[in-house]
Amino acid sequence: MKRWLLALSLFACVGAFGALGSASAQDAVEEEDPQASRAATFRAVSGPQAERVPGGLLTVIAYGGAWVLVLGYLWRLGRMHAQNERELSALKKSLESNAP
């Protein structure tokens, strides 16, 4: 009987120390650096928190899109200038051929 009691007490002590160790380890995880925590664990979230908007990509699209618009307008100006030159050349030819 004494042996059983001794074994039971030993088991309870090991269990208690184990639980205490686990709890203190969890506290340590909660207190550690969030960046390190992100690197070590994956946690599921739902709702609005689930979405992360990539700011860098949006910035690249904004600046890239703006330059596309600017270059498109410059190309249009170039075309208008070329059309003027063509019409002027045709006009000169026409006037020269009709000159008295």
């Binding site: 860098g56 904004a62 600046y63 618009l69 100006l77 200038h81 003027n84 002027l88 006037l95 000159a99």
Partner: protein, 244 residues
């Protein structure tokens, strides 16, 4: 009207050295601006990288105001003086203003996606900007129908004048009806970090140079176009077969 070669646009097509100098200064200012925006200016605490859209968005809005204001001034003076010179200013202003408005309406929603979670909000300032862009868009649609006659020019000038009061609506809508649009640079806002100021000022200067250069170029092209049309009409009137 004389049809001598000296009166044709070919002589006017010589480009001023100042035009080249302005182009070079503008390109340099843009390069410096990009360096200041992406290397010197700090990343904003709340918004992160997407806040850097601000340096492009705000000066573009200023370019939009400048372009559309000049369009309205040109339209008003055209209706008063009936000179094609003012019509050219009105067309150039409308195009340049609409180009900058397109940049504003592109970059704003991209910023809003991060800040508000949606690309578009029917905020007073955003809505009034879209409405004004539609008016000046109508101006450009009207003028894109080919060689404009006097009636089209007058109607377009009236559109430019009608659009002008809406610029004040864009400016003061935030104060009058609040809304979600940021007011960082106005008296209501908290201002920007001192290290962000040089990038913003440099971008403003770059956009100013670019707007002037674009207006100059567009006015020049429009004036040439007007001169060609005038010579063609005169040649046709004299029966020289100038219509091409």
């Amino acid at each position: 009207m004389a049809l001598a070669p000296s009166s044709t646009p070919s002589t006017a097509s010589r480009v001023s050295p100042l035009w080249h100098a302005l182009a070079a200064i503008t390109i340099t200012l843009f390069l410096v601006s990009f360096y200041l925006v992406f290397e010197v200016a700090p990343v904003e605490e709340q918004m992160g990288l997407v806040q850097k859209i601000f340096y492009l968005h705000v000066p573009s809005a200023y370019g939009m105001y400048v372009g559309w204001t000049l369009s309205a001034v040109g339209g008003l003076l055209f209706l008063w003086k009936r000179s094609d010179r003012w019509d050219a200013l009105s067309v150039a202003g409308a195009e340049v203003g609409t180009l900058f408005a397109a940049i504003v309406l592109l970059t704003g929603p991209l910023w809003g996606r991060k800040a508000w979670g949606v690309y578009w909000a029917w905020d007073p300032r955003i809505t009034s900007t879209l409405l004004t862009a539609m008016i000046y868009g109508s101006f450009l649609a009207l003028r894109s129908f080919g060689a404009a006659g006097q009636a089209e020019k007058r109607f377009a000038a009236a559109l430019a004048i009608v659009g002008f009061p809406l610029l004040f609506l864009i400016k003061y809508s935030v104060q009058r009806w609040s809304g979600q649009h940021p007011v960082v640079l106005t008296g209501q806002g908290g201002g920007i970090h001192p290290d962000m100021v040089p990038a913003l000022i440099c971008f403003f200067l770059a956009v100013t140079g670019f707007a002037i250069w674009l207006l100059w170029t567009r006015i020049r092209i429009e004036r040439h176009r007007q001169e060609i049309v005038a010579i063609e009409l005169e040649a046709a009137r004299r029966g020289l077969g100038g219509e091409s």
